[in-house]
Amino acid sequence: MESGLLLHDAPLTAAREVARGMWVLSFEAPEVAATARAGQFVNLGLEGFLLRRPFSVYRAEGERIEVVLKAVGAGTQRLVSMRPGDVVSCLGPLGHGFDFGGRGSWKTAVLLSGGLGVAPMPLAARDARAAGLQVTWVHGARTADELCSESDGDDVIMATDDGTSGFAGTAVAAAPDADVILACGPNRMLAAVADRWPEAQAAVETYMGCGTGVCLGCAVPLARGGYDRACTEGPVYRAGDID
């Protein structure tokens, strides 16, 4: 069957901490790096764990892809303790990513993220710049040391719930309007995004089984009723379409 899907072993090449407990892991995965588009994800398999774990592609440069994560469970704990040369099984790129080409009239893009919602944003910035858009990042977190500071030289606005860095309040409240809003973060944040900009493109995080559309485990409730699959129809949705 024709598809751009790839399944390879990918060795870890580097790791760096970009905020307290938030790690960017770099893997050698040349074919995925060459084809991944912003908002797409990889499903990583680890020895000793039955199911794969889905991660947005954070960056894709040369032979390498990056993902960003916090150690929240046994699987992510294993990932952050990996050494260079250790191997994961990488399935991807998966899902439908952000859309930059829809309208020629788009001039500005805001990349709005809360916490680990920064995951798809560096690739989104790359693809937005390539589409000729002026990019502004809005990073939100609970407190200053949980803010991911990477913004690749674009304009950046910081927002913290406790006011320890930048705007005191939510990333949504701190964000300017733009022709295209790309958002990723907790469900509560995405709901606020949908209230302010129903046309925004929101990348959801869900539990996921297969990543390839067959298990129906990653159900996303839709405003029109029913569910569809974050792995296949998503993970990027029109914000107003998510229930």
Binding site: L50, L51, L216
Partner: protein, 304 residues
């Protein structure tokens, strides 16, 4: 030596003993990366007569060597299946059985009548074992009279092969197996998922919104091998083994334990090409042991 991997069972000719299990392969139009030459057949995602939305998320949870799921038989209904999927199946070189569901024996019969004769539908797998629906499902599968009534209702509406997928949540699977055999089943699929529960210690509640889910994966394999073996000892119709098969060795355990074929399910979630790897591994085992055909594989199936 030419290996004969073909199987005749339950009214169907399969070119290999490995089928895709219901609910793990969609309607067969997804699952990229699979080498389809290896597919003996496919059982569709379970379908009801009418469309169903399924259960709210979270629908899955990982457990040691397994996963719990409560999808709730989300599906587009019989009309959409006939319109969108069956025409594609009719062009494929392996048979597609439709996993059928209902809230009453009459509804199973009605669904069978709707699908019988539709090009692309090669047979039926009666699901009397889904743990994740409020009405029907597993209820039919743990009462021999109800199981037989559903099987009869389907049998009356079709001359196509009728397989019955059994639930493991019974005290004696042989009783159910004999009841559906007597009611006209051509083969049995043994077994569906086990009912399980997992608790979220941050939320102090079950990790699945449906509270319970069906446990699959390697965690259930020895349980499933035992139940498939018990079913095979109880009946004269073929048994298709299913439950936690990840490798060819796992599949061979079911075959030696008395099964005529196997279904691979959860493994496909992890490795989209799992079915082909299982098929090829069985072939390699047969070649190494000098068996020319699957019929030559010794079976451990003492009669009571």
């Amino acid at each position: 030596m030419t290996l004969d991997m073909s199987v005749r069972l339950g009214g169907l000719s399969l070119h290999g003993p490995v089928l895709a299990a219901s609910g793990t392969f969609g309607y067969g139009t997804e699952v990229p990366l699979l080498e389809r030459r290896a597919l003996g057949g496919m059982v569709s995602k379970g379908i009801f007569l009418k469309p169903r939305q399924g259960t709210p998320p979270p629908r899955i949870a990982e457990t040691p060597s397994g996963m719990l799921n409560a999808i709730g038989l989300q599906g587009p209904g019989a009309d959409a299946l006939v319109r969108d999927y069956a025409p594609q199946w009719a062009k494929w070189d392996f048979p597609v059985l439709v996993n059928i569901n209902g809230e009453s024996a009459a509804e199973y019969g009605e669904l069978t009548a709707r699908l019988d004769g539709v090009p692309g539908v090669a047979g039926f797998e009666i699901n009397i074992s889904c743990p994740n629906v409020e009405q029907g499902g597993m209820y039919f599968g743990n009462d021999p009279r109800a199981a037989a009534a559903v099987t009869e209702a389907v049998r009356k509406r079709t001359r196509l092969p009728v397989w019955v997928k059994l639930t493991p949540m019974v005290s004696d699977i042989g009783v159910i197996a004999r009841a559906v055999e007597a009611a006209g089943a051509d083969a049995l699929s043994a077994v569906n998922t086990f009912v399980g529960m997992s608790i979220d210690l941050n939320a102090y509640r079950p990790r699945l919104s449906f509270r319970t889910g069906g446990l699959s994966g390697p965690a259930i394999r020895p349980l499933a091998v035992h139940l498939a073996h018990q079913a095979a000892r109880a009946v004269d119709i073929p048994v298709v083994g299913v439950g936690g098969i990840m490798t060819a060795e796992d599949a061979l355990e079911f075959l030696v334990a008395g099964c005529s074929a196997v279904q691979v399910g959860t493994a496909t979630f992890v490795n989209p090409n799992a079915i082909a790897e299982v098929h090829d591994g069985i072939a390699a085992f047969m070649a190494a042991k000098g068996f020319a055909s699957l019929a030559d594989l010794p079976r451990y199936l003492p009669r009571d």
